[in-house]
């Protein structure tokens, strides 16, 4: 358990601006120029990971996490310092990379396994296991372009984890895909860990870091600012987010490419965002705070009826709350092509800490199975953070009024 698997020593990365590319070419051959501007994205990063450890790497977007990961996997060179790793490193951030859409799943798997450095005999041994784990059925021998994004993710994960690596880097990629498969992925990750694989987990998902890791490091503005237990580091991270939330207002953004849309397109969602109690767009919501979900819709043809529904899901895709304008008896009748509507749903964010997604359904009835104009999963992603309330655990915010007093024996006797 004590062997050092990964040693990151004083790693720094700077992207150089040469002003002119000729100056860059000169620098390869030892010609130095004073006009080179250095832009440091990582500096003085040092930490050690031991065999079998699971370390979470947290930090805001743009803090330098993915640059650090690229340096650890070796695709990016460090400008200063060095990384020493023992054994094979596999990264799930490679998910689906290099898949050729015209080739079948099997052909892609065979090919990409070669790219990962497996020999032909190893590939022949691994392919049936990959096929079995991915559970995409007969699609495995169909061209990749017929796959849904979830199926591609299944094949990619199965491939990335086909053989137990010494270090496994798990990143945000794992937040896409269906709940069933994500559970399967985490099961495999846990099994690897029991067999001695070291884990590096990069995530905004605090519960994943908390439940899987026994240590966490935090990176902010290219520096290592914390290294400790997941609880300590996440508390610091929360504080940092809260600070950011108070100082800046940002339009909520959806991770690109993650949204899945289906339907006839007779009515479409133009825009969806979340506002706080004062009508200010927000990305982070405090537990129990007032929030307003705003959905803008435009009809693309004349419609007999239009029902708008939304559903809030947790990170595993499970429904937390959903309703629609059929249930609220606000069905829009005889819609003309080009009409736009805005739905505002106000509610208190009585949810536990975590990330949530919103699915939107536009249909003619309460069930989207009849006339499905548009069904949009992951239309909006937001985070619920606990910045104001007393700490608690769980999925729901059920603020109790707690009374507690000591009971004296005389009182009991007196009652009798």
């Amino acid at each position: 358990m004590s062997g050092v698997v990964l040693q990151v020593e004083n790693v720094g990365k700077s992207f150089r601006e040469y002003g002119s590319e000729w100056r860059r070419f000169g620098s390869w051959f030892g010609k130095h120029s004073s006009k080179i501007k250095e832009h440091w994205v990582l500096r003085n990063i040092s930490f050690v990971v031991r065999e079998g450890e699971a370390v979470g790497i947290v930090g805001q977007n743009g803090a330098g996490k993915s640059t650090l990961l690229k340096i650890i996997t070796g695709t990016l060179g460090a400008t200063e310092g060095n990384v020493r790793a023992r054994g094979r490193i596999a990264a799930i951030l490679e998910l689906g990379m290099g898949f050729n859409q015209d080739l079948t799943g099997r052909q892609n798997v065979e090919h990409s396994a070669g790219l990962m450095g497996f020999s032909r005999s190893e590939i022949q041994r691994l392919v049936p296991e990959i096929e079995a784990f991915a559970e995409v059925g007969e699609y495995f021998d169909e061209p990749m372009r017929t796959y849904s994004s979830g199926m591609q993710m299944r094949v990619a994960f199965s491939l990335a984890t086909a053989s137990r690596p010494d270090v496994l880097i798990v990143d945000e990629a794992l937040s896409v895909g269906d709940a069933y498969f994500i559970h399967k992925c985490f099961k495999r990750i846990r099994e690897f860990r029991e067999q001695g694989t070291t884990l590096l987990i990069v995530s905004h998902d605090k519960s994943a870091v908390q439940s899987l890791c026994d240590r966490a490091v935090m990176i902010d503005k290219g520096r290592l600012v914390a290294d400790g237990t997941p609880q300590q580091v996440l508390d610091l991270y929360n504080a940092l987010i809260a600070e950011k939330e108070n100082s800046t207002v940002r339009q909520s953004q959806v991770a690109e490419g993650a949204a899945t849309v289906s339907g006839t397109g007779e009515a479409v969602v133009d825009k969806i965002w979340l506002e706080d109690g004062n009508g200010k767009p927000i990305e982070y919501v405090g537990v129990g705070d007032q929030a307003q979900l705003v959905i803008r819709i435009t009809a693309k043809s004349d419609l007999h009826k239009l029902v708008v529904g939304y559903m809030i899901r947790d990170r595993l895709g499970q429904a937390i709350f959903g309703t629609n304008t059929f249930y609220t008896e606000q069905v829009i009748e005889s819609v003309t092509c080009g009409d736009s509507y805005e739905l505002r749903a106000s509610f208190a964010m009585n949810l536990g800490v975590g990330t949530y997604s919103v699915s939107v359904a536009l249909s003619s009835t309460e069930s989207h199975l009849v006339d499905n104009y548009e069904w949009r999963d992951l239309a909006l992603i937001f985070t619920v953070a606990n910045t104001q309330r007393a700490p608690f655990v769980g999925m729901a915010w059920m603020p109790p009024k707690v009374t507690l007093c000591a009971i004296h024996s005389e009182d009991i006797r007196g009652m009798g």
Binding site: R16, T75, M97, D102, H111, G114
Partner: protein
Amino acid sequence: MKDMFQAIWNYRHFIFSSIRNDLRSRFARSKLGALWMILQPLAQVAIYSLVLSRIMAAKLPGIDSPYAYSIYLLAGMQAWSLFNEIVTRSLTVFVENGSMLKKIVFPRVCLPIITVGSALVNNVFLFGVMIVVFALLGHFPAAALLWMPLLMFTTAAFSLGLGLLLGVLNVFIRDVAQFMMVVMQLWFWLTPVVYMASIVPVRLHALMQLNPMYWIVSGYQETLVYGRNPDFAGLASVTVVAIVLLALSLLLFRKAAPDMVDVL
């Protein structure tokens, strides 16, 4: 250097499967698939033959065939298409595979090797078709077949040296590829593929012979059209140029490799 060859050897299966996939994906969508790789140069030959055969045929002494000019064109095209494919694909090979280079650790030198490999496979197909066309036209250059491996090898080495050198630069200055597209067209017309060297004024011959592609193309024409031996001195100097270019491009590649992923 030894490390590089070791890495290539370890990734040989990946290189082979990349070449195979390259062919496969060409077949996947279009009905005629990889046939287009062959049909395109053949169509070009047919067009030039149609347009220019009257003017050019008279300038081709030494072969008794009404199709002499078509045979001459095919031989030259065989050389040019290999050169053209390797250079144009090497130019963009790093840029096109940018996201892969950024995310996956593998020997980067595999990429140009795959490019050359798949261009060679295409060229061998084209060669097979050319031999069939020759046979239909009543032309059987049997002895020339022995020269083909050497000629193809020299062409590939020269093309790779040039393409890799420019391909590395193109990662940093994207204009290189655009500029080369124009240069390649000009280069085609400066090389005696469509016309014969004999129609060029004698005073320009020394200039023409500075073009490495002149020696390669005339090597193909000598062997395939006339059944003669190629000019060894000329080919040897092209080989020297190719080796120098390859060494230069490898040096540049090694110096540039750490910077490459930063700008992709």
